[in-house]
């Protein structure tokens, strides 16, 4: 018997995929809704980590996703996987002296990035602060709702993912489902995230959001220009976050992030930190700049400043 077994070990090499198929064959029925267990469900179940996909596998995955989304929303949806541009590290600047708290960035982001409308997911949170107290989050008003902004005696601070150079969120992820790309943007593989929400506990900026229920987007409002690591529609039970609009910013010629583009007062600045002539570099070098929660050593690439 042991000899036979030894021989089997030599003849039959288990690949990851085969092992899994065996492992899951019995259990799968419980975890998966059997009624919808079509081939694509199994394919997505066995899909490998984004960074381990071969070029061919990646093309298959993108095609499968495009097919699924196009069917679901009744219009062609494109899913790209544009790689970071070499020699680029993105940085963001926000002029607190200009921001009027209108929240156009919040909703511009929702539309661009296909966030769930019900339940509502927002990647940007604008808080209202007292001019007298300065940046004191203790006194922040999150749900301010006057007829007209800005209100006397107040200023506004939008908070979104700070794209830290030393991110606490990627460090804690138990399955490496989130990481920093070479352009400095922190992304999530929505098909690999197990939904443990450890990254949400670790993030000091409340930048990570969870799909507590199945996200819903009205079909006519779906942005069909999507990126695998960015704004493609997300499944239930995974974490999502701001990616500086990778679907826009990685194009050549690139486009600004949606929040930057929609801002009516020009409070938002975006650019390449590695380019000494970029606007963002000028601001960092010449304005009074601060970063949020500096003492945590997260080293954000999101800079708040006062231009006036």
């Amino acid at each position: 018997m042991p000899d036979q077994k030894k021989q089997d070990d030599h003849v039959f090499r288990l690949s990851r995929r085969k092992t899994l198929k065996g492992l899951v064959a019995g259990l799968g029925a419980i975890a998966l809704p059997s009624a919808t267990a079509s081939a694509s469900v199994w394919e997505s179940f066995f899909q490998q980590h984004f960074r381990e996909l071969s070029k061919k596998e990646l093309q298959e995955v993108l095609a499968r996703l495009e097919k699924g989304y196009s069917k679901e929303y009744g219009k062609p949806v494109k899913v790209k996987a544009t790689a970071p541009i070499e020699g680029v590290k993105f940085g963001y600047g926000l002029d607190l002296s200009r921001c009027i708290g209108c929240r156009r960035c919040v909703y511009g982001c929702v539309t661009e990035n296909n966030q769930s409308r019900d339940p509502q997911v927002h990647w940007i949170r604008v808080v209202q602060l007292d001019k007298e107290r300065g940046v004191d989050l203790d006194k922040a008003e999150h749900y301010y709702n006057p007829k007209k902004v800005p209100e006397e005696g107040h200023f506004y601070m939008p908070v979104q993912c700070q794209q830290c150079e030393n991110p606490p969120c990627t460090k804690v992820c138990p399955v490496q489902a989130t990481w920093t790309e070479t352009d400095g943007v922190i992304v999530v593989d929505y098909n690999w995230c197990i939904g443990c929400r450890y990254c949400m506990a670790a993030c000091p900026y409340g930048a990570r959001h969870f799909n507590w229920s199945k996200p819903t987007i009205p079909a006519d409002e779906v942005n069909p220009d999507t990126h695998y690591l960015g704004n493609r529609p997300r499944p239930v039970g995974v974490v999502e976050k701001c990616t500086f609009c990778v679907q826009r910013t990685r194009e050549q010629p690139g486009r600004y992030p949606a929040c930057e583009e929609i801002c009516p007062v020009g409070a938002r600045k975006f650019g390449n930190l590695l380019d000494p002539d970029s606007e963002i570099r000028y601001l960092i070098e010449n304005k009074r700049v601060f970063i949020l929660k500096e003492d945590l050593n997260t080293q954000p690439k999101f800079f708040y400043f006062y231009a006036t």
Partner: protein, 432 residues
């Protein structure tokens, strides 16, 4: 052949767990129906997403993770039996050490179930398996926790199953095999709770958890509540089964609890001093927990209940007369168990999120679904423990062993659970 022996042992255990008194059947039936309710609630959660819980982005962990944290402590507490039994070779506890290990196994199973219940994508659990998935070891403390919890579970399973198997076949366990494993289980027990503490401890974003006193506090509270649960179980087992547990063993455990509660209270006091005397902005979560913040005070009555229970329990365990009197002892055990369940459960997890990182306050209280799933997991844990005891106790008593023909099993204890008054009638069966 070895394999046939293993098979006949397992066959015997399956026959055995099917046998029992009416009380045993009733108990198992209750547990199974509670488990059924839990499964139904969990399926509902699977279908609708975690939105059916009260957790939201602001408070992203809740009742499940609270229970998980508490139960890691219960599992770790088995070490309080293993040390006197195998390091000090103290007879009265050596006789019952197996029970502690069985409790540890049940508690770890519950821990794993609670974590699974909390996952947004349980279908992707395989991403955590090294080589097949992408376990982020050693960077993620959660990866460490996966490793140490499973190692501790495996270790206890091997030790207990090996020992019971040998006893079943009336052989002597090979000590050069068990002793290293038992000794290894001591640091393993400490490490599961330390790593679980580090899970929270290492987050700079959460000042409430980011205190170096957290891991020691975890251990002290675990060694208070875990053994307290064990004493309650020992007293029940001794009353309703044929298993004998000496008073000295129980009293020794009670004495150890007194030390643990003292250390726990001291560390809690040290933390209170540091937070309130310096009174930085990081005081907010502690204020929320103890007194409420900006009119939000959902945890206040709970934490004060816990503090009062812990103090009362300390007095009971401190005074030799009250910790040896079984009425007051049980009272003390119940008080410290509830006290630590609140303190190390919701009292630890929720203030980590209130106020949240942008100082918003979202008050959390578990929904019905969360309560039902939690109840189901506790019932499953008790079911596992009952089944383990159903096999282990007759083996340890010599009521379940290989039959004279060397193949079948002899089952001397057909009842398992009996009411204490009937015991004398059954006694004559024993000299078999």
């Amino acid at each position: 052949m070895q394999l046939r022996e293993v098979w006949s042992f397992y066959k015997g255990t399956f026959v055995l767990i099917g046998k029992g008194s009416k009380a045993y059947y009733a108990w198992v039936a209750i547990l199974l129906s509670l488990m059924g309710i839990g499964v139904a609630a969990y399926l509902y959660q699977l279908n609708h997403g975690l939105g059916v819980t009260a957790m939201r982005d602001q408070v992203s962990w809740g009742f499940y993770i609270s229970n998980f944290t508490f139960l890691v402590g219960v599992a770790a507490a088995a070490v309080l039996l293993v040390i006197p039994a195998y390091v000090y070779n103290w007879g009265p506890i050596k006789e019952i050490a197996v029970l502690g290990e069985l409790l540890a196994i049940s508690a770890i199973c519950m821990c794993l179930m609670f974590v699974t219940a909390d996952l947004g994508r349980p279908d992707r659990f395989w991403h955590l398996i090294p080589k097949i998935g992408n376990l982020n070891f050693p960077s993620s403390m959660l990866a460490w926790d996966v490793v140490v919890l499973n190692a501790y579970l495996g270790l206890n399973l091997v030790i207990v199953v090996y020992y019971l198997y040998k006893t079943y076949y009336k052989r002597v366990a090979n000590e050069s095999f068990t002793t290293p494993l038992l000794l290894l289980s001591i640091p393993a027990a400490i490490s599961i709770h330390t790593v679980t503490a580090f899970l929270y401890n290492g987050l700079g974003a959460r000042p409430f958890w980011n205190a170096s006193i957290l891991a020691p506090r975890f251990l002290a509270s675990a060694f208070s509540a875990g053994p307290a649960l064990m004493i309650i179980l020992f007293l029940l087992i001794r009353k309703y089964t044929r298993f004998k547990i000496k008073d000295e063993a129980i009293h020794k455990v009670a004495e150890l609890i007194a030390y643990a509660i003292f250390i726990n209270l001291f560390l809690f006091g040290a933390e209170l001093f540091k937070e309130f005397y310096t009174a930085t902005k990081h005081l907010a979560p502690m204020e929320y927990l103890l007194f409420g913040l900006h009119g939000h005070n959902a945890l206040v009555p709970w934490i004060w209940t816990a503090i009062i229970f812990n103090l009362f329990a300390f007095l009971i365990f401190l005074i030799p007369e009250t910790r040896t009197n079984h009425v007051t002892l049980v009272m003390g055990c119940v008080l410290i168990f509830i006290g630590v369940y609140i303190e190390k459960g919701m009292g630890l997890i929720i203030p980590g999120f209130i106020p949240d990182v942008l100082h918003e306050i979202y008050e959390y209280a578990p929904t019905g679904v969360e309560l039902l799933v939690t109840m189901g997991i506790w019932a499953t844990g008790m079911f596992i423990f009952t089944m383990l005891l159903r096999v282990a106790i007759p083996i340890l008593n010599g009521d379940f062993h290989v039959a004279d023909d060397g193949i079948g099993s002899y089952i001397g204890d057909q009842m398992f659970l009996t009411s204490p008054t009937k015991k004398p009638i059954q006694q004559p069966e024993e000299p078999l």
